[in-house]
Structures are given as C-alpha cells and as structure tokens.
Symmetry: C2
Subunit: 201 residues, 2 copies
DNA sequence: AACTGTGAATTGTTTCACAGCT
DNA sequence: AGCTGTGAAACAATTCACAGTT
C-alpha cells in the first residue's frame, strides 16, 4: 500500500506538469487503473489532504506525500555488481530523477575494480560494509549473480543496509528490520506465460 | 500464487542440481522463506504431488509444475526498445536459461532500425503488430520511454500480445485478457526508502 | 515418526455505501 | 451537486491444526 503511494506521487507530478491544480480520487484512480475508494483509503492513511466537494490540491498532496514517504531529500544508494544490468542501471536516469543518487559502485572482478564505469569508480566488494557505514548509505541495489547474492547481502547488512533491491534470482535470508524487494524478471515472464498458456484453451 | 510456483520450480531445479531426490514442504519453505503450510497449499493448487510421510519427489514435482505452468516448451518473446535496459536484457542469459527466447527486437529510432543489436536485427516499431501476429508471439517485453509505452502496448495487443512485461513507469490501460506486469524500479526504491525513513526514528 | 492435504480460523485487503463538508 | 473520509461488508490470502497416509 506504500507501494501505491509512489504511483500517486508520480501521477501527481504528471498532473502538475499539465497545469492541473486539483484532482478528485476518481481522476487519480482512472489514471492508475484503481478504484476511487481505494485511492481515498490509501491517501487517508497518510493524513487528511482532501477537500470535500473539491478534491485534492495537486501541489499540496504531492508535497505531503513526498514528506510522508521520506522523499523530500536525496537518498544515496550503492550499486553492487557491474554486469549488464548494473551498467544499464548506472546509465539510466530513472533513479536520479526520482531522488536516488548512486554514491558508490562495487564489483568482485579485480579487472573492474579501480576502473571507472559509467563515471563511477568501482570499489572492491570487500569494502562494501566499510564504505556503506562511512557514507551512511542504507539502500543497496544488488546486481550480482545468484550464487553471490546472499553473501554480498550479508556484507551490506553489516555495513548498515536497511533496504535491498535484489535482482538476483534467489531468496535472501536477512535479519528482521532489513527490507528486501526481489525483482525477479524470469518469474514475471513465467507468470505471463502461465496466463497465456491457460487463456486460449 | 502462480508467482510463487516459479520460485518453487527454480528451487526444485537447485535441489536437483545438488542431487537431492526428495523434499518436504518444510525444506522447500525454508529455502524460500515461506511457511510449510503455504508451500503445501500452493502445490495442492496444481494437483496432488506429495507422498505423506515422505515429501515430494524433486524431479516429478518439477516436471509437473513445469507442465502446469506451460514451461515445458520454449516461449518466443519480443523486446521493444533497445535503450540501456533493453540492451542489457538482450545480453543477459537469464531469460533464455528459463525458456524464453527473444525472437524479434523493435525500436523507434531510424538510426537503430536495420542494424544488428546484440545479434538481433532491429525492426521498426511500426511492424510490431504485423510481426507478432506472423510469428505467433504473445509475450512482449516493453523497454520504451514512458510517453510511448501506452501506444506501443496498444500496437502489441493488436498483434495478439497476451502478456506484457512493462518497464516503463506508467500504468497501461489495456483490454481485459491482456496481462501486464509492471516492473517499476523507482517505485521499489521508494518503498525501501520509506521503510528506512521510518525505521530509525 | 514423518509428512501431506485440507477444512476452519485468522488476518489482511478491497469494495461498498453513506454521513458530512464545501 | 460533488467530493472526501470512514465504518461495515465482502473478498482474498495466510496460518493453524489435525485427520489420514506411508
């Protein structure tokens, strides 16, 4: 449900860009394929932002949501694993646009360590815990192979990581208090294949 | 719940690789951080595969799941948008390892169309519907910018697409029967930031 | 003794529907 | 009239707990 808050925020930014000043829960819902009641419930979770008979003030609501989500500041992020996916994410502007700034980059491969990659100096993964702690980085993007993910995640937690975006196709076991979002592309495709498979026959 | 079936399958393959012949719901659950009851409920959904007092036969169960999920064959996939992310996915072995084979690649940019990209001939996005239909491709990976995603998805559906893996940060509105999995990396990071934000203080 | 399959109980989420505000 | 905020109802997912099987 916090996940949807991010969607609202982005849609509000879009409305703002179009010069819209006020939106109703119905409009917001239509743009995101959600019911109006759902939108209201979700937003009410963070506080009372709406004006009966009018709707929500786009700018106000966006600001309030941003504050509630902790997005009214830039979050430093570490990225581990400079393979295909890691490099693509470094090149991508998507993260920085939404207030996430890659601060350090790590890899295991000694041929990459010490090199610059997409403008970032690649650090040895051995220094992961040390540098996370020193720079107070709590968010980690994990793009390492499956067989290394658990070990690297453990190092990250030692360095104080609180949230891990895990692209490796394995389930991570980590202490409570550490949040893991698995991003498992094959699993998603398998879901789609399942539905396609059971659709036509 | 179908999503978890893919996880079971992968874990079973891992067990098979380790030479394990039989697993209990508890073991399977431990490997994936799930309760044993959940594992049993999920598996029971596909049929009765277990042997009371013994557990599940790793090879049998994997095969049954694969068949139930429609993964006992290779699925052709189209990829649209050869930007950073698209190229990274083309280079990645992850999809093909799990039985998904990229069959055509599309882009809008005339400078890319006609070129080879990671070994794939880039087709113009105008031919998307035509080629999907001709090659009976129903799964589409969408890596185009947000402002083009809806239009491209529409073309894909015209060509017969049944499942879309959408990396663009917008909600797609598509006819019922078409399945969309949004993969929204910033939203995930925002969720992590929220938890980190509300953890320590 | 070990383990499955599954009803029943619990917990969580979404939808409904309406009182109350502007 | 139009819209919010929210209890109550419906629905879905998870967990419990145990009868039944090997």
């Amino acid at each position: 449900m916090v996940a949807r808050a991010g969607l609202y925020l982005r849609q509000l930014d879009a409305f703002k860009g179009q010069g819209v000043h006020t939106v109703s829960s119905r409009q917001l819902g239509e743009a995101l394929n959600l019911g109006d009641a759902q939108v209201r419930k979700d937003l009410a979770w963070f506080g009372q932002f709406g004006h009966p008979g009018v709707g929500y003030d786009v700018i106000d609501l966006a600001e309030s949501l941003r504050a509630a989500l902790g997005l009214d500041r830039v979050w430093p992020v570490a990225l581990v694993g400079v393979g295909n996916l890691g490099r693509a994410l470094l090149r991508d502007r998507g993260f920085s646009q939404r207030g996430f700034q890659v601060e350090c980059v790590f890899d295991k491969d000694p041929r990459l360590v010490g090199q610059r990659c997409e403008g970032f100096l690649v650090e040895p993964v051995e220094r992961l815990a040390e540098l996370l702690a020193a720079r107070r980085i709590v968010l980690v993007v994990l793009c390492v192979p499956a067989d290394q993910a658990q070990a690297v995640a453990h190092r990250a937690v030692e360095g104080g990581a609180k949230g891990i975006l895990n692209f490796a196709p394995v389930a991570l076991s980590l202490p409570p208090g550490v949040d893991v979002v698995p991003v498992d592309l094959s699993i998603h495709l398998e879901r789609l294949a399942y539905h396609a498979h059971h659709a036509g026959r």
